[in-house]
């Protein structure tokens, strides 16, 4: 039985779906996280602790492990594990992207520089030190702009600024975010950020699989809600795209160009692009699959999940159809209405009863402190829909969302201590 190493940050959303996929495929699984499992001593052949901030060290640890328990494939499930997966892959001679390409997709400065060198259409950008006086920095920027931390995910810390005052506020805010206990980034990412020209337009997300350097488009998601800032909280993803075929083709071409520019040649990619009269602009390239629980919208061939496809490819197994099943599908990442402690959730049954709604998952737990963007790092939950047309999917998702309500105890409402 092939043994596969799965790199699972303890805070990932992807654990259940990847483990289910491994079970369905009959794969022998080794799970590695950055903190020890409570059963690591009982199951040392199945559970590993790795430092995801030290790819070379992690690769050494896995190499020692693999002497005793040979590994046939490695998959990093999230942004935090893409470079480590590449390092382990290189060290063990497994199917994986190069360390250089994984690093380029993980560090937004490197990504922008490589895309620029290859002539890929992307926002004009500059690197700015977060240490300098923000009011002085603000004088050297063309507005509107978008400030972006170098190594965070899912729009965390991404802020639009329309003028110098907003720019200065954004710098202070990003500094605070990067100083949080739950943020671990390298020195460069701690002290600098990108400043990009704001690109107006319709945003899409392309979910792809690179097979021997060739891009296979697994799904193109429209994002029907405008993302104009000041923060860029994603809400709706709907597939298939309702864009014209020639536009979709241009998006796929731009994505393939971007992946080539970064040196990515295998595995999943999740790419965000903006569209306007100039064509597609590459906003972000991630060398991993779609985040949160959103992969549950995707089914391939006779019902295979995205995770199964990814694991099969990592093991060098044949890939059956990568054609998505025929139905339209979509997900809403439930927006966090305001900061505070989640006290109660109402209307889940009513939301689930909406026609074409497949599931409603509240991933936040009661008593959890909800933190909206740009500081936030967790989803409130997800609504999934499947229907004959993308329009019906979008309608169902919006209707289901209206049936949900959340009791959130804000600090101002809390009784003061006696």
């Amino acid at each position: 039985m092939d043994r596969l190493l799965l790199l699972l940050p303890t805070t990932t959303y992807r654990t259940e779906d990847f483990l289910d996929a491994a079970h369905r495929l009959g794969v022998d699984l080794v799970c590695a996280s950055e903190a020890p499992s409570t059963f690591e001593h009982h199951a040392p052949e199945r559970l590993l602790t790795l430092d995801f901030t030290d790819p070379a060290g992690a690769a050494n640890t896995v190499a020692r492990f693999a002497h005793r328990y040979p590994i046939a494939g490695v998959v990093g499930v999230d942004d935090r594990t893409t470079v480590v997966a590449a390092a382990i892959g290189e060290r063990l001679g497994l199917r994986a992207n190069s360390i250089g390409s994984a690093t380029a997709s993980r560090n937004k400065r490197l990504m922008r520089e490589r895309l620029a060198a290859a002539g890929v259409r992307q926002p004009p950008f500059q690197l700015m030190s977060l240490e300098a006086d923000p009011r002085a920095l603000a004088r050297h920027v063309v507005y509107p702009c978008v400030l972006k931390p170098l190594a965070l995910s899912a729009s965390r810390g991404v802020i639009r600024a329309n003028d110098a005052a907003q720019f200065a506020d954004a710098v202070l805010r990003i500094r605070a975010i990067l100083g949080r206990d739950d943020v671990t980034v390298d020195d460069e990412a701690k002290h600098a950020c990108l400043v990009e020209k704001f690109i107006p337009g319709f945003e899409v997300a392309l979910e792809g699989l690179l097979v021997d350097s060739e891009l296979r488009v697994l799904a193109l998601f429209d994002k029907p809600d405008p993302l104009d800032g000041p923060f860029f909280e994603e809400t709706l993803y709907v597939t298939p795209s309702r864009l014209a075929p020639d536009v979709q083709k241009a998006i796929a071409h731009a994505t393939a160009e971007a992946c080539r520019a970064l040196g990515l040649d295998r595995g999943p990619v999740h790419v965000e692009l903006r569209l306007n009269d100039d064509g597609p602009w590459v906003i972000e390239v991630a060398a991993r699959s779609i985040g949160g629980l959103c992969s549950r919208t995707l089914r391939f061939g006779t019902g295979m999940s995205l995770e199964e496809l990814i694991l099969r490819q990592a093991l060098g197994w044949p890939l059956p159809s990568t054609e998505r099943d025929g139905q339209a599908a979509g997900v809403m990442m439930i927006p966090i209405p305001r900061a505070g402690r989640l006290v109660a959730v109402h209307g889940v049954d009513a939301a689930t009863a909406v026609p074409n709604i497949e599931d409603v998952v509240i991933s936040a737990h009661l008593d959890q402190e909800l933190v909206p963007l740009p500081e936030g790092w967790q989803y409130l939950g997800f609504i999934f829909a499947r229907a004959e047309t993308p329009g019906e999917v979008e309608t169902a998702l919006r209707e289901a969302h209206t049936r949900l309500s959340f009791d959130i105890d804000t600090p101002a409402r809390r009784p003061s201590s006696p």
Partner: protein
């Protein structure tokens, strides 16, 4: 459920499984055994924990099936959505 099988599973939970998960504020309760399937409920820090699946499949299930070969499957009956103090909370990683 056979009393003998129940006793074996319970003993393993008491001697090995619960002491292991207690380190993360969790506990495991035996709910039922039917047709060689063991039904468990996870609580405390395990309920709603982002790593509960790993704990269950790579840890608890493996241990039970190795020590008690007559067990065919371990089923998690936990309502993870109701967990209010999970040890690991999922986030954007």
């Amino acid at each position: 459920m056979s009393d003998d099988l129940k006793a074996k599973v319970q003993e393993l939970i008491d001697s090995t499984i619960n002491p292991a998960v207690a380190g993360h504020g969790g506990f495991v309760e035996l709910i039922d055994i039917q047709d060689s399937r063991v039904y468990l409920q996870l609580g405390g820090g395990c309920q709603g924990c982002g790593m509960s699946d790993v704990t269950l499949k790579a840890g608890i299930e493996r241990l039970i099936k190795e020590e008690i070969p007559e067990v065919a499957e371990v089923v998690d009956t936990t309502d993870h959505a109701s967990g209010s103090n999970p040890y690991y909370t999922p986030g954007k990683a």
